[in-house]
């Protein structure tokens, strides 16, 4: 899905990188914890959905060659961070919606979760149904 389509679905706006609105993001990962982003995402060009607005978010996105960063809950990074993202070529989007709603809208529109490494609960059988 193109970044401009993602922005339209969410009423999000480009904080920087509007010139890359045609860029494709095929998969998504959502987390506030950068440790999780670093440890779990196993592919490139991923759309990162986060409510964390530190300079490190953009650097993680750059290092992991992510497609774009989408800030949720109406949060915005500082001007210095935006400037850095512009220089690094990382598009930033901002939406007023919360993370749950954002993920729900994008999932329903067909955006898939990013390939990730195995997690501790992956092979744990589900609880039996309640009587």
């Amino acid at each position: 899905m193109k970044l401009c389509e993602i922005a339209a679905l969410l009423d999000a706006r480009f904080v920087t990188g509007a010139d890359q609105a045609e860029r494709e993001a095929t998969r998504t990962f959502a987390a506030d914890l950068l440790s999780d982003v670093l440890a779990m995402v196993r592919e490139e060009r991923v759309l990162l959905i986060t409510g964390t607005v530190t300079p490190q978010v953009v650097r993680v996105a750059e290092v992991m060659n992510m497609g774009a960063v989408l800030f949720v809950r109406g949060k915005l990074p500082t001007a210095t961070t935006v400037e850095y993202a512009t220089g690094a070529g990382v598009p930033l989007l901002a939406a007023a919606r919360d993370m749950y709603e954002t993920c729900g809208i994008l999932y329903r529109a067909g955006l898939l979760p990013a390939k990730r490494k195995g997690l501790p609960m992956d092979h744990v059988p589900p609880d039996p149904p309640h009587p």
């Binding site: 440790s35 440890a39 300079p55 290092v63 490494k117």
Partner: protein, 149 residues
């Protein structure tokens, strides 16, 4: 230790303790260096992740240190060293989920206790040595042309 292959690139970066404005910039520099050397995307990504985790560890927990990027014909090496305080039980801190991170580090999105195991998982060779009161040294090696398991 295997015989050394010729050096193609070496760079030393200083990392300041608690400098959150700059934290992460060494990793982006390392990424750019590797891209300009023509390293394959998987190697660049893994080296970037290893470097970021190591860099954040130096910034968040140490009294400052440095990162050395060494590129040889057959490998990328990242050497992290800091000036303390050192790690008493390396096996313990390598366990996923174990963390001594203060609240301010967690508020920045770090300190989940995944750093060292993530560095190890993205490296082909990984060695960590530490002495309490002296410092910690980590050598992470990514072999070029070796598939990542």
């Amino acid at each position: 230790m295997s015989p050394r292959t010729p050096l193609t690139h070496k760079r030393i970066f200083r990392v300041s303790s608690r400098d959150l404005e700059q934290a992460g910039t060494v990793s982006t520099e390392v990424r750019r260096d590797l891209l300009s050397l023509g390293a394959n995307p998987d190697v660049v990504r893994r080296a970037g992740v290893v470097c970021f985790e190591g860099e954040m560890n130096i910034v968040l927990y140490s009294n400052g240190g440095r990162i050395i990027l060494i590129v040889r014909e057959d490998r990328v090496e990242l050497l992290f060293s800091d000036r303390g305080p050192g790690i008493a039980d390396i096996d313990l801190v390598s366990q996923p989920g174990y963390s001594t991170a203060p609240d301010w580090a967690r508020e920045l999105g770090f300190g989940a206790g995944l750093g060292i195991s993530n560095m190890e998982q993205n490296s082909d060779l990984f060695k960590i040595r530490s002495r309490v009161g002296a410092g910690t040294v980590v050598r992470a090696t990514i072999l070029l042309g070796v598939p990542f398991f």
